[in-house]
Amino acid sequence: MINVLSEIPLNYYLTLSAILFSIGVIGVLTRRNAIIVFMCIELMLNSVNLTLVAFSAFYGNTNGQILVFFVMAVAAAESAIGLAIIIALFRNKMTVNINEINIMKW
C-alpha cells in the first residue's frame, strides 16, 4: 500500500470551497437575472461537493464521493426543472429580471 503524502493541507481545500461558496452567495443576493442567480446556486452546490471530496480523500472514506454522485444527480434534475420554470415565466412575462417577477408577492 502506498502512503499518499500530499503537500496540500486539508484547510486549503476547505478555504477554496468557502471562498467559492461566498462568491455564490454574493451572486445570488446582488444579481437580478434569474438565470445568473440559478448559476450561482450551481456554484454553491459545487463548492460543497469540493468539501465532501476533500474530506473523503483525507479520511479514506468512500461515502463522501457517493454523496457527491447523488448531489450531481439531484442538481441535474433541479437545473432541468428550474430552466423549464424560467422558460415558462419568460413566455408569460417576457422578462427574467426577478424584480419584475412578483406575482407571488403579498
Partner: protein, 171 residues
C-alpha cells in the same frame, strides 16, 4: 514550496477568478462560459485529490450536460446585456456584501484559518484506492443500491415535470 502546491494554488486562483468573472459579467452568455471554466478547474482539483471518477463525472455531467442546458436556454431566450450590473452601491447591495462577508468569515473560522498551524497534511492511505470507478461502483451497487434506484425515479419525475412545464399553455 513544492510543485504540487504551486499547481494547486494556480488552479485555485483560476477557479476563484472565473467565479468572480461569472458574477460580474453583464452578458449572460459569457457568464455561462466562465462558470464552465470554473467547473473545469474544480475537476482538476478533484484529480489532485485522487477522485478520478468524480472528476470525470464533473466534466461529463456538469460541464457537459447541465451547462449546455444553461447555454441553450440563454441562447433561446436571446437576452440582452443587463443594463448595469455594477450600479452604484444601493442599500440592498450593501447588505448583500455584508452578509456574504459574514458567511465567508464564519466558514473560515469554522474550518480553521488556512495559514494557521495544526494542518492535516497527510492524506489517508486509502486515498488512491477509493476514488476509482471500481471502488465507487462497488459501493454504489451494494451499500447504496436503494438510493441509486430512487435516483432513477427522481430523474424520471424531472423529465415528466420539464415536459409539463414547457408545454404551450397551463391548464
Amino acid at each position: 514550496m513544492g510543485l504540487e502546491l504551486i499547481f494547486f494554488l494556480v488552479i485555485a486562483v483560476a477557479a476563484i477568478v472565473s467565479a468572480i468573472a461569472m458574477i460580474t459579467e453583464r452578458n449572460p452568455l459569457k457568464s455561462v462560459l466562465f462558470l464552465i471554466l470554473n467547473f473545469f478547474c474544480l475537476a482538476v482539483v478533484y484529480l489532485i485529490l485522487h477522485a478520478q471518477f468524480i472528476a470525470v463525472i464533473q466534466v461529463i455531467v456538469y460541464a457537459g450536460a447541465i451547462m449546455v442546458l444553461f447555454l441553450f436556454v440563454v441562447m433561446l431566450l436571446n437576452l440582452a446585456d443587463e443594463v448595469s450590473p455594477n450600479e452604484p452601491l444601493t442599500y440592498r447591495k450593501t447588505i448583500a456584501y455584508l452578509l456574504s462577508g459574514i458567511v465567508l468569515l464564519e466558514i473560515l473560522l469554522g474550518v480553521g484559518l488556512p495559514f494557521a498551524g495544526g494542518n492535516i497534511v497527510i492524506q489517508h492511505q486509502k486515498a488512491i484506492e477509493i476514488g476509482t470507478v471500481e471502488s465507487i461502483g462497488r459501493s454504489l451497487y451494494t451499500e447504496y443500491l436503494f438510493p441509486f434506484e430512487v435516483t432513477s425515479i427522481l430523474l424520471l419525475a424531472a423529465i415528466v415535470g420539464v415536459i409539463v412545464l414547457a408545454k404551450k399553455k397551463f391548464k
